[in-house]
Structures are given as structure tokens and as C-alpha cells.
Amino acid sequence: MSTDAAGLGTRRAVGFVVPAVVLVGVFLVFPALWTIYLGVTDFALTGLSAADPRTVGVDNYAEALGDERFHASLWLTAQYVAGSAVIGQAGLGFAVAWVLRDRPGPVRRVVEGLILLAWILPSSVVAFLWIALLDRDAGTLNALLHTPGAAWLLDHPMASIIMFNVWRGTAFSMMLYGAALENVPPSHLETARLAGASAFQQIRDVVLPRIRGHVLTNLLLISLWTFNDFTSFQITAGGPEGRSEIVPVYIYDVALRGGRLGFGAAVSFLVLLVNLVAALLYLRAARSRGGVAA
């Protein structure tokens, strides 16, 4: 119900909204639209194209779509999202929430506290903690596993940043699924259990149908966040030899380090399209069953 209890009046109300809309417009909407324009130019950080960019039509897009390095970074990003967001954060987050449901007490507080602390810590610190853990010569993992000299970061860069992203991002899914599981009536689970359903069957047949909206919301959010996240750059900088160069690192490298802003904008726009398609697919899936739960 909107009642205008404060006697604000439509005109003043609009005045209240305008500052926020202007800020969001200039620093969020406008950059998004500008990406489209920059993407069809040869705009660069230095040289002639910096002062006077030429329109090059779809050249940037043609080049990006034909660039093997871009293909490789897309494939690595797909692995990163599937491994660290879908399987890692959502899977582990659900598993922890499931095991800890209806079990208040010190064990739950400790486990949840550790996972939350990993989430609260600034990501730059987390990046360094993982460097310390995986370091070639003196890393904690080498000391624990008695594998002196094992170069985890160099030999398994993708696995390293996937573990890192699972470590710092699982808390969100755990909390979301924890809240979702509270909405599943315990009596339904009890009935299924008495009928001889295994934990797997209980989850598949009783829990998942009821928390479908939460699952969709969670998968969309964490996938978008992971797809666009740049933090792994601090661990491997995309290396070695580009073996952990996910799309954000690729864009940073070609656009801001390589100076080709127009080309980078074109790739950014492709990323934006992927994000948008993901969001629209999610909305459709959510609407088809009538449940959008945030």
C-alpha cells in the first residue's frame, strides 16, 4: 500500500529518486550502453586511435570470435563456473546446510563460523592465503603432504583457482540453502524416511521440488559473480602460459594492459550478452513454475 503518509507529493517524491537514478545512470547504465559504441571502434589507450578513434564496424567482433586465445579463455571460464560455482559453492553449500539442518550446537557454530569467516575476509587476503597454502617451496600443503617442491599453482592453475573460489564463496550458498531447508516441512522428510527413502531420494523427491526457486536464484547469482570475477588474477595472473586465463583476465590483458580499448569493449559486450541470456533463461525457468524466491 502506498499512502503518501508524509504528504510527500509526486513532485517531491520524484526529486527524492532522481539523485540515485542519476548516479546509477551515469556509472552503471551509461557504461553498459557505451560498451556497444566503443566495441565498433578501434579506440586505443595510446597512438592515433586514442585521439581520433575510427569506426571499424564488426571487425572487433569478427576478430574476437576468431581468436583462439578468446576461445580458450571461454572454455576455461566454463570450467571455472561449473567447477567452482555450480559443483563447488552450490554443491558443497547445500551439503553443509543439509548435514547441519536441525542440529544446533557448537559443531554447527564452528563449521558455519569457519565458512562465514572465509567469506568475510577481504578477497585480496584470501588470494594471498592460497598462495601461502600452495606455494612451490614452502607451501603449507607441501609441508602437510610431505611433497616438497610440488608446484601446485604452476602444475594445476585451474584446479587451484577453482578451490580458491569454492573456499571464499561457499558461505552464500550455505546460508541460502539453510534458509530454504527451513521451509521444507520436517514431517514430509520423516514420512519419506519411514518409507525407506535414502538421503539421496529424500533430497531428489522431497527437498528439491520445494526449493526449486532458491536453487535457480542461487545458481544464477553465483554463476554471474563467478563468470565476472577478477580476483583469481591475484593468484595466477592468468598463467602459467595462459592456462588459467579466464575471460575477465583476458579482457584486462588485451584492453587495459594491451591498450586496445575498442577491442576490449567488444569482448565486454559479448560477456554482457552471455550474462543477459543467463538472466533471461533463469527468469523463464522461474516463471514456468511460478516460483521466484530470493
Binding site: V24, V29, L133, N275
Partner: protein, 280 residues
């Protein structure tokens, strides 16, 4: 009768052991990297390996002598506080108007902005944001970082606060109006106190988001004197070739402490759990 019962008890025990093992492995996975953060700052000879520290506070003394690192913490405070003020004030005004006055199309607008803000994050806006800041002379300024981060956080902040305001009754405002209070008096003396928990949530959420953000300051700030903790920590490691571990570990701890304490304080006080995308 005995058979099935014993089988059930065995199954129960197996499940309990499985649960305990799972929780132990998960706890180990999450605790392991943190051990280094907890021990290395106090170690006289820190290595990258976790070890029982030979206790010292020399790392802290060295950090105090390093204005570069300390200043970055000041920069983090400045950028986080600036963004929090901007986001809280603008989001509160907008959410209040959106909640109390119905203007056709606003709900759709808000929804579109929210969708856009989750789609246009990080990389997708990296180039135009850099270009925009260059044109507006905002490169190498705190203001540039604050405005860019605030623009990204505002849609979700408005959304959360509007929800909060929709849930609070309008009767206080109505009676204040009957007694002749002006809209700005009503806002300051009635609305703000009533929705204080919502404002605190938004403020904490903004501070935590800005405190941890790396990409925006990394691309907008060239001058290391203005860089926040997130960026300085990264450069401390890479520029020297050999990392100065006593400095990095101490700095990591000091840089982490404020958000950890803030989280502990807020969750004790308000008992809320972060349900939004705090890490952006």
C-alpha cells in the same frame, strides 16, 4: 524383531560417522588457509608454511614504519565510508519515495536496474568505466572509486530498503502530519529512527563490499598513495620479487580485522544473516 532394529542402529551409526567425517574434512578445508593468517604475523621468522610462531610483535612495528601500507588502510576507510554515506543517503531517499508514493512504472524501473546491476558487473563494464573516469577526470581520485562502486551497489540497496519500508506501518507518519510536521521533519524524526536497522544493514553491506573490492580501484587508481588495502596487498607481493612475509602477514591481519569485527558486532547486535550479495 531384533534383526531390523540392530540393522537400523548400525545404519544410524554409519550415518553419524559419515556426517562427522564430512564435517571434519570441511572444517579442515576451511581452517587450513586461515592458520597462516593467525600465526605468521606473530612469528619472528615467518615462512609461507604454517608453523608454531616464535612470538614477536616486530611485524607490527615494521608495519608502523611503512607509511605506504598504513596509508592504504586509511584509503580503504575513506573509500568505504564515502561509499556507505552516499549509498545510505541516496538509497534511503529513493526507497522512501518509492515506498510511500506510487508513480506508475517505478517498480519496473527498479527491477530493470536491479537486473542490469547484476548483469553489468566487473569485466563487462571494465573498459567503459575506465574511459568514463578518464573523461570526467576521475582517474586517480577517491571520488572516482566511490562513485563507480556506489553506482553498482545502489540498485540492490534501494531494493532491500524499499522492502524494509514497505513492511513498516505509515501510521506514525500520518499522525505527525496531522500535527503539522513537514515532510523533511517527518523523514528525519520519524522515518529514519524507525528504519535504522535497515539503514545499518545497508551501511554494513556497503562497507564490506567496498572494503574487499579489488578490480575498480585496481583499474582506476594509478598513484599507489591512493590505493586501498586490497590493491596494496597485491603489489606488496608482486613488486618486490621476494615477498616480505612479516609485512604481508601483519598487513593481511590488520586489513582483515575491521570487517571481521564489524561482522561479529552486527550479527550479535541485530542477529541478521547476510542474505544478499555482499561480495561485489
Amino acid at each position: 524383531m531384533r534383526g531390523p532394529e540392530a540393522a537400523a542402529r548400525a545404519r544410524h551409526a554409519a550415518a553419524a560417522i559419515g556426517r562427522a567425517t564430512f564435517l571434519a574434512v570441511v572444517s579442515g578445508f576451511f581452517a587450513l588457509p586461515m592458520l597462516w593468517l593467525a600465526t605468521a604475523p606473530f612469528d619472528a621468522h615467518p615462512t609461507i608454511t604454517v608453523s608454531v610462531p616464535e612470538f614477536t610483535l616486530a611485524g607490527f612495528r615494521e608495519l608502523l614504519d611503512n607509511p605506504y601500507a598504513l596509508r592504504s588502510l586509511g584509503n580503504s576507510v575513506l573509500q568505504a565510508a564515502g561509499s556507505a554515506v552516499l549509498v545510505v543517503v541516496l538509497a534511503a531517499m529513493a526507497a522512501y519515495a518509492l515506498s510511500r508514493v506510487r508513480v506508475p512504472g517505478w517498480d519496473v524501473l527498479l527491477y530493470l536496474l536491479l537486473l542490469l546491476s547484476s548483469v553489468v558487473t566487473g569485466t563487462a563494464a571494465m573498459v567503459p568505466v575506465f574511459e568514463l573516469a578518464t573523461r570526467l577526470n576521475l582517474v586517480d581520485t577517491h571520488l572516482g572509486v566511490v562513485l563507480t562502486l556506489s553506482g553498482g551497489l545502489l540498485p540492490a540497496a534501494i531494493f532491500i530498503l524499499k522492502d524494509f519500508m514497505d513492511g513498516t506501518p505509515t501510521s506514525y507518519e500520518e499522525s505527525a502530519r496531522v500535527f503539522g510536521a513537514s515532510p523533511s521533519q517527518i523523514l528525519r524524526h520519524i522515518v529514519v529512527p524507525v528504519i535504522r536497522p535497515g539503514l545499518a544493514t545497508i551501511a554494513v553491506w556497503t562497507v564490506a563490499s567496498v572494503w574487499g573490492s579489488f578490480l575498480t580501484p585496481f583499474i582506476l587508481l594509478r598513484d599507489p598513495d591512493k590505493a586501498p588495502g586490497a590493491v596494496i596487498l597485491y603489489t606488496l607481493y608482486t613488486e618486490g620479487g621476494s615477498p616480505r612475509l612479516e609485512l604481508i602477514s601483519t598487513f593481511s591481519l590488520l586489513y582483515s580485522l575491521p570487517v571481521v569485527l564489524m561482522y561479529v558486532f552486527v550479527s550479535r547486535r541485530y542477529g541478521f544473516r547476510f542474505h544478499g550479495g555482499i561480495k561485489r
